[in-house]
């Protein structure tokens, strides 16, 4: 798309034209060329790692392909999708993913809001408290998982606490009934800080005049929170929920590290299933079809998030 208006090597010399003149002035074409030069590296990289893979992946999703066997992908149209949609495994993984994402949100969003309310204001140590509360958000998920691996282990902190109150030990990550819940608790802890900061920004945007008006009108703290602050936080809460949902729907590393999807696939979220399908069973076609179905799910959520952000205005 680089327009060739000038032989290479000559520098773009500014002409005595007004910059606002439209059309093919030398300035415009110099701009156009500079624009393309500046985006070119990014465009090439994105094409190679995003655009081409999406197209290629879509093609793969219409084929049956096992790279271990000889021969390339065999085209079989929508059969892969039909097979996936008919498999119990797939729907089980969707169900686990939904539980995992919504369970995490149910714990993390109110928790983050409570934390934000707690550290919104000026009192000794508040900056430090905010920073420490935010910390889990910055720490790599695999590192967090390692810490919780110990917390959940047989001799770990949680079993000790259970023992203190006279309860028998729990195999948090090894028991089918508790594994998913244990992962959810960890992930909610990890998610608290990030959402807290967003809520904090929202709280600080609440006009002081409204709060004063509420207190003049005799609203107590609780009623001010319930009827003044919370309604103002609706757009930001929607944003937090949708963005987290998109992210949580793609959970993988903590699950791979802590349970590998087990025991008895009780924590096999969709990403885990796709990984296994592709890199354990080498069914790349089916795995791609699943990935695109997840894509559809997430795209719906992303669409929602953009709508929400547009309505919420610029932050």
């Amino acid at each position: 798309m680089v327009t060739k208006t000038r032989p290479p090597g000559t520098s773009p010399r500014p002409h005595p034209v007004t910059p606002r003149r439209p059309g093919r002035s030398p300035l415009r074409s110099a701009q156009r060329r500079a624009g393309w030069i500046l985006v070119l590296p990014a465009v090439l990289a994105l094409a190679l790692v995003t655009i081409v893979p999406i197209g290629y992946g879509f093609y793969l999703s219409l084929t049956s392909y096992n790279p271990v066997e000889r021969g390339g992908p065999t085209f079989h149209g929508l059969n892969g999708y039909l097979a996936v949609l008919r498999s119990g495994e797939f729907w089980h993984a969707i169900w686990i993913t939904v539980q995992y994402a919504s369970g995490t949100l149910i714990l993390a969003v109110p928790g983050a809001l409570a934390l934000a309310l707690l550290v919104n204001g000026r009192f000794p140590g508040v900056a430090l408290f905010r920073a420490v509360l935010y910390l889990p958000r910055v720490v790599p998920l695999v590192a967090v998982s390692m810490i919780w691996l110990w917390l959940y282990s047989h001799d770990g902190l949680f079993n000790y606490l259970l023992d203190l109150v006279g309860l028998p030990p729990v195999g948090f990550l090894t028991d089918e009934d508790t594994a998913l819940l244990s992962l959810i608790a960890m992930r909610a802890w990890k998610a608290l800080g990030g959402s807290m900061i967003i809520f904090l920004a929202g709280l600080q945007a609440v006009p002081a005049s409204l709060l004063e008006a509420a207190s003049v009108d005799g609203c107590g703290r609780w009623r001010t929170l319930r009827h003044v602050i919370l309604p103002l936080l609706v757009p930001i809460t929607t944003y937090v929920v949708v963005v987290d949902l998109i992210y949580l729907a793609q959970s993988f590393s903590e699950i791979y590290v802590l349970t590998s999807g087990g025991p008895l696939s009780s924590t096999t979220v969709l990403n885990m299933l796709i990984y296994n399908e592709a890199f354990e069973h080498y069914r790349l076609g089916n795995a791609s079809a699943m990935a695109f179905l997840l894509f559809c799910l997430i795209f719906g959520l992303a669409y929602l998030s953009i709508r929400t952000m547009a309505r919420g205005g610029r932050r």
Binding site: M1, P12, Q31, R32, A34, G35, L38, V39, P41, V43, A45, L46, L48, V49, T50, V52, P53, I54, Y56, G57, P67, L115, L118, G121, F123, P124, G125, F129, A131, L133, L135, V138, L141, A143, M146, I147, W150, L151, Y160, W189, L192, I198, L203, A208, L211, R221, T224, Y247, S253, V257, I274, Y275, L284, A287, S288, A291, F292, F295, F299, A302
Partner: protein, 291 residues
């Protein structure tokens, strides 16, 4: 909120409550540090003690001498540095062009960038794996990409998918969009070329967003797991999260050493976090599609 916390006594009570809650939330980190400095015999002692009786560096020595974690740390640093460089240069430049230069196709390009920011990593994973494995003339491959392992097990292969991230282009664009256009006009009047206007006028003023992009790229690369898991097969090329996870998965976990390794993995992010706190928050507020 000032109306709600005007009384100093209430402020003190709140500080106390906030302190207790913060301590509870930070508990896992406290235990990580505690275990990392405990001798082997104390790690499994019952009841678990918060403070080691005889603090030791044995766990760190073990991690340093007997695991691939130090090498993995070097790998992670290399990958993260390359990722930061790629994003600071290419994503910033692209963001600038999309914001300040009106060229044909720029709107379509921006839509594409936004769109690709929403594609979940798993969709690209399988094709990307095949592309990287079949990269022509690399890793024993012929011109058609057959015969070898391509860029698998190499820094290039590890970095490639993260080299330019759509989200960073988006952040840069939003930042440059808010800057005044008069600067460019003034530059043009003084005879500066378009690239010089970017390089010498706008870029120096955009340091905050470059810092934000650097931080986001670093932490993103530092914690990336799924792609390295697929792209690396030899222990020598493992990144830190991979090395930690394979160390945890090899036999009975040695929690002391594992926590020492985890501690090591957290320190760089911690340093960056303390140094660039406001950039963290800035980037977070502007776009959180990818965590």
């Amino acid at each position: 909120m000032s109306a709600l916390i005007a009384r100093p006594a209430a402020g003190r009570r709140r500080a106390l409550l906030a302190g207790v809650v913060t301590l509870l939330v930070a508990m896992p980190f406290v235990w990580m540090v505690s275990l990392a400095f405990k001798p082997k015999t104390e790690v499994f002692s019952y009841p678990p003690k918060l403070l080691p009786d005889q603090p030791t560096l044995d766990n760190f020595a073990y991690v340093w001498n007997s695991t691939n974690i130090p090498g993995a740390m070097a790998n992670s640093l290399i990958v993260a540095t390359l990722t930061v460089a790629g994003n600071c240069v290419a994503a910033t430049a692209a963001g600038y062009a999309l914001a300040r230069i009106d060229f044909r196709g720029s709107r379509l390009l921006f839509t594409t960038v936004l769109g690709s920011a929403m594609v979940p990593a798993i969709v690209q994973l399988i094709p990307l794996f095949l592309i990287v494995k079949g990269f022509p003339l690399a890793g024993g491959n012929d011109l058609l990409g057959h015969g070898g392992n391509g860029l698998l097990d190499s820094y290039a292969g590890l970095v490639l998918p993260m080299l330019v991230q759509p989200l960073n282009i988006y952040l840069a664009r939003q930042y440059f969009l808010d800057m005044p256009g008069e600067l460019a006009e003034a530059g043009r009047l003084d005879g500066a070329g378009e690239l010089r206007i970017f390089w010498q006028i706008y870029l120096p003023l955009a340091r905050p967003i470059v810092a934000t992009i650097a931080i986001l790229s670093f932490t993103g690369a530092w914690e990336d797991f799924l792609w390295p898991l697929v792209a690396v097969s030899s222990p020598e090329m493992q990144t830190l999260p991979l090395a930690l996870s394979s160390f945890a998965g090899s036999g009975v976990p040695q929690y002391g050493a594992l926590m020492a390794g985890t501690f090591i993995a957290i320190v760089p992010v911690l340093v960056i976090f303390v140094a660039g706190q406001r950039h963290f928050v800035q980037g977070l507020g502007a776009g959180g599609v990818k965590g």
